[in-house]
Assembly symmetry: C2
Homo-oligomer: 383 residues x 2
DNA sequence: GCACTTTGGCAACAGCGTTGCTTAAGTGGC
DNA sequence: GCCACTTAAGCAACGCTGTTGCCAAAGTGC
């Protein structure tokens, strides 16, 4: 039973079946090419081996799972290894950044099979940007043969700035007022003929990283690029909050009555941090970022911190070490156990595009987030 | 299904039954004395009317629900109103504060039926404090006749400072080093013969307020007393984090390199806020509190803020207005809709004791939190 | 008094995971 | 080479879930 918001849902037999199937499918996905045996699935889900057998039989019949070799015997019949069938479905990830667009086609396992990056000014007229984005989607689909229409589940689009994840309407992409109130989801769905999900870049990246994490622990993804934002993963899914605006990390006040910030406030982390970057004092930038991160860790008792974004990518170790130092010092003071690990997400901005594709795939695996709706409407999931 | 942490749980028929029964029971509880009809239960849960009939029949057979009158007809057979039977079970709430202990016996509906407050120095030897607490529990049970042993589900204990909710061991109650590592749950369970759950005072209060809230929206409870802490309610349940230490709100850095705080850090909200209180500048205290609160609202996109604690209770309006002003100004700047409402929890510290009792009751209603374990062990819930 | 509406229980049912047992497929002793 | 043993996985029967179709109960309104 899932950490979805609200408490409406009564459960019936189909929802129970779907829940367990998602759970198994998620474990298969997490196991990757290594695969996983039926008995291990049973142990991990708490279901009986017989129930897992029934569920995997259905998944195999639907082409989502397949047997793939067997393990060494431990004194009896050896376990059969099951694997997710990656090409049972695909999704498109789309990253609309301030100065360029990247589209990626990933398979069910999350592996990218085609990528395209094109320069694109997010400040151009909306119709132009949407048109270019739709073309990028078509291109990346054409790049990968054998991915017919019905096997592409949808498009996940990630972009900076506040937006409403539920209805896919942008609020106010910082610096580009023409996007205010623009129904991006609808427009993209119409142009691509595919279901579309829209989310903030930080949320997309966080979701992608969450699906790759071996443990299910809560973590925060801190993205430092042209701005500073966060994606929060609580309980296995992205935490979006009441109005899907969570992750407003950059305009956290870190210095009461400090220097003015572009947002109109004073002493925001983003302003302090980027000012330090601008004057070349990366150690100070890392210290400021670390202080805000430590605030977050204390407030939510988060288990892990992941840094990302272009600015971080340029000097990974400086930021990782600087943030780690602040977090460790605070943990020592409070004496509540070892400090949380601090890592850097590899690949600069790449986690954003790949995570965007996961906006579409995640619901299949029971991860938080409602399935996308739109024209060519996503039929009931194949299981 | 439920926002529990981790993603282990496969679901079977008993768990499905339990889930739906909890859901119905929670709606009955929320309806209070007003009651609720079968058909409304069906609408709210999404279950069929027939399923609700079956579930409520079981609940009535077990003495947890009862029919209570009927509504006006709308042209046909009038709806029958169902209500929770409050005296079907009880729980004890215990608030161990720095200078006193309060115990309360509440019924299944959360209504207090007996209260006792005794002065008690939390700095006294552990055995002494536990003994006095256990006596308080016995006293409050004796105060309410007709509440035999098997109908008291357990004791929920709330106290300040970091602790491990999972195993009930205290970490370091600020200012009282003798509690460091003390297994409070075990000790209290042994002395009272009842299952015990231990949690931070802020979490207990937040849980109690969450159960009373009409909507299921996320909110934060900010407690300003001798210290400053927060309780977070996300997705209907208390968010405790990886090591059950979430809510560390007071030692959030709000002023880089600011004045030193007792915790060893610099520029913590708690230090800034309490310093302002000490010099009588309540408006500034409220502004500082509001700034930290606005950080929290932005980060989590929380839907509501509730203030509490003795310091707030002494000047409710000053704090409510001061915090509201900061939050509203930030909302205006960011332009993401109306600011979140700011209210004060009535009754000073009372939400803490009553919320403590809910630590025991909440699992019955499917709210986050594992059921208590301990001697005299809580048998399977009565439904 | 009769037609109609709405509530809510009864009975039959489909489908879920579970249990008990059987078959498959290995290892290791002799 | 054979047999006893162990472990994995499927088959069949089962108990229990919510669902569906139907009917009795209990009102309103002409």
């Amino acid at each position: 039973m899932n950490r979805s918001s609200g408490r409406s849902g009564g459960a019936n037999l189909p929802s129970l079946r779907h829940h367990n199937a998602s759970l198994v499918l998620d474990l298969l996905r997490a196991a990757g090419e290594r695969g996983i045996s039926r008995l291990e699935l049973a142990e991990r889900t708490g279901l009986t081996p017989q129930a897992v057998s029934k569920i995997t039989t259905r998944l195999r019949a639907e082409g989502l799972a397949a047997e793939a070799g067997r393990l060494a015997s431990t004194g009896g019949k050896p376990r059969t290894v099951l694997r997710l069938v990656p090409d049972a479905g695909y999704a498109v990830g789309l990253h609309l950044d301030r100065d360029g667009t990247t589209a990626v086609l990933v398979d069910l396992a999350g592996t990218p099979v085609a990528t395209r990056t094109t320069p694109l000014d997010l400040g151009a007229p909306a119709a132009e940007v949407v048109g270019a984005a739709a073309r990028a989607v078509q291109t990346v689909r054409a790049d990968a043969p054998g991915t017919e229409d019905h096997r592409v589940f949808g498009v996940g689009a990630a972009l900076p700035g506040p937006l409403d994840h539920t209805d896919g309407v942008l609020h106010r992409v910082t610096g580009f007022p023409q996007w205010d109130g623009y129904p991006l989801r609808e427009a993209l769905a119409e142009r691509t003929g595919l279901p579309v999900v829209v989310d903030k870049d930080t949320n997309a990246a966080a979701l992608g990283l969450a699906l790759r994490a071996p443990d299910g622990a809560d973590f925060a993804y801190l993205h430092l690029g042209t701005g500073l934002g966060a994606g929060l993963v609580l309980g296995g899914g992205v935490h979006r909050g009441a109005r899907t605006g969570a992750g407003e990390f950059g305009h956290q006040t870190l210095q009461l009555d400090g220097p003015p910030c572009g947002c109109g406030g004073r002493g925001c982390v983003e302003a302090l941090c980027l000012a330090a970057v601008a004057r070349g004092d990366l150690a100070e930038a890392a210290r400021v970022l670390g202080t805000a991160a430590a605030n977050l860790v204390g407030l939510l008792d988060i288990g892990r911190l992941v840094l990302g974004g272009r600015t971080v990518a340029a000097d990974e170790d400086v930021y990782a070490d600087g943030v780690r130092a602040v977090v460790e010092e605070r943990a020592r003071r409070e004496g509540t156990g070892p400090a949380v690990p601090v890592t850097v997400a590899p690949g600069g901005d790449r986690p954003v595009v790949e995570g965007a594709a996961h906006l579409v795939l995640a619901p299949l695996f029971g991860r938080a987030g409602e399935p996308p709706a739109g024209p060519g409407g996503l039929a009931a999931p194949p299981y």
